[in-house]
Symmetry: C2
Subunit: 213 residues, 2 copies
């Protein structure tokens, strides 16, 4: 165990060190096996100080989730260049998402899957997911309006649910396939979701056969 | 509380009664608040007999999950008519899925969401999900082969992940919107996923701009 350091650092910097250390340890061990000793050691900070700053292991995990969720959202929103054609915007957003997951495969596998399978983190994750769906619906709305199309808010929400669900499922696949190329996933999603949406915008709709029961 | 009945029934029939009662009570109360008393009462069977047949509340919940998962899979596979065009097969499978969720909104909301957010059920659900992805990949494979197309197994798996993820996310939306029409969700999914896949089959692919960083 390294000697705890007692340099005077701004609170925000120290918290960030602890969060980064905690993400590493949770990713390495999983929530249950991770110990506050190992997190303190990784951060080079005494265990009581970790508790003092960020509370219990549960609170620390929640803080990690929020940090990673915020970083993911920033990566996506930051990648979208408003002046580009809409399909390219969408592709850039997707590519940023898959690159983020590809660069944090361990973190995704552990943080996301653990959060999904463990109360009360599952509720936190659901809230973050709702926020991402709102952001995606907003992006779709602006993109479609820029093309002179208007789509009902409920339809946008449904499209955003389908898009986020498909992307999330592919991220899960990506996390399990270390050799897969994140950029290739974005292109696949475009071919899955956008080629369809593009056809719809061009007026080609799939309709059920009239005689179907 | 109703009087427990002691009619001699075949084991399978009695177990089915208990499972149906348990699904109702778990849907009504959620896993934590559901009591074995209420489940026994709903089934018209004594509590010790519920324990004797199906074990603890955890084991009972797992049995409910497996039953509902099997019913869902049977509904999807049973809806697919092999001789129809591939897009119609896919649409029938999706429609069966959304009809199932629409007819069991409470069950979906509670069983699926609770299972996702609670160990060890999350692992069971993940295993069932893998099985559904395999089934969907197999359907896609047969459908594409029938059209004279061959797609690499890894690509089929990725398409199945995207399709299942999108459908799952829309099912979540459907469970929260009691007035939404399940058949309409299937048509939306076709427009989202199939119109794209159809374009791909016709040779129209979305490609990233060559100069993109």
């Amino acid at each position: 165990m390294s000697t705890p350091t007692f340099k005077r650092l701004p609170r925000a910097v120290r918290e960030q060190q602890m969060l980064d250390a905690a993400v590493k340890v949770f990713s390495r061990r999983g929530f249950h096996a991770a110990s506050m000793d190992e997190i303190a050691d990784e951060a080079g900070i005494s265990k009581p100080m970790v508790y003092a700053y960020l509370g219990s292991k549960e609170e620390l995990f929640t803080a990690c989730l929020h940090q990673e969720g915020t970083r993911l959202m920033e990566a996506i929103v930051g990648a979208v260049v408003p002046d580009l054609p809409f399909d390219e915007q969408l592709w850039r957003g997707l590519r940023a998402f898959f690159r983020f997951v590809g660069a944090h495969r361990d973190g995704w596998a552990v943080l996301y899957r653990q959060a999904r399978g463990e109360r009360p983190f599952a509720d936190d994750l659901a809230a973050m997911r709702s926020r991402i769906i709102e952001v995606v619906a907003g992006m779709l709305d602006r993109g479609l309006v820029a093309q002179g199309r208007e789509v009902r808010a409920a339809e946008l929400e449904v499209m955003a649910y389908a898009l986020v669900g498909a992307a999330e499922s592919l991220a899960d696949w990506l996390a399990d396939h270390p050799d897969a190329d994140p950029d290739g996933m974005a292109t696949r999603m475009m071919n899955f979701g956008w080629t369809g949406a593009g056809s719809m915008l061009a007026g080609h709709q799939w309709r059920p056969p009239p005689a179907a029961d």
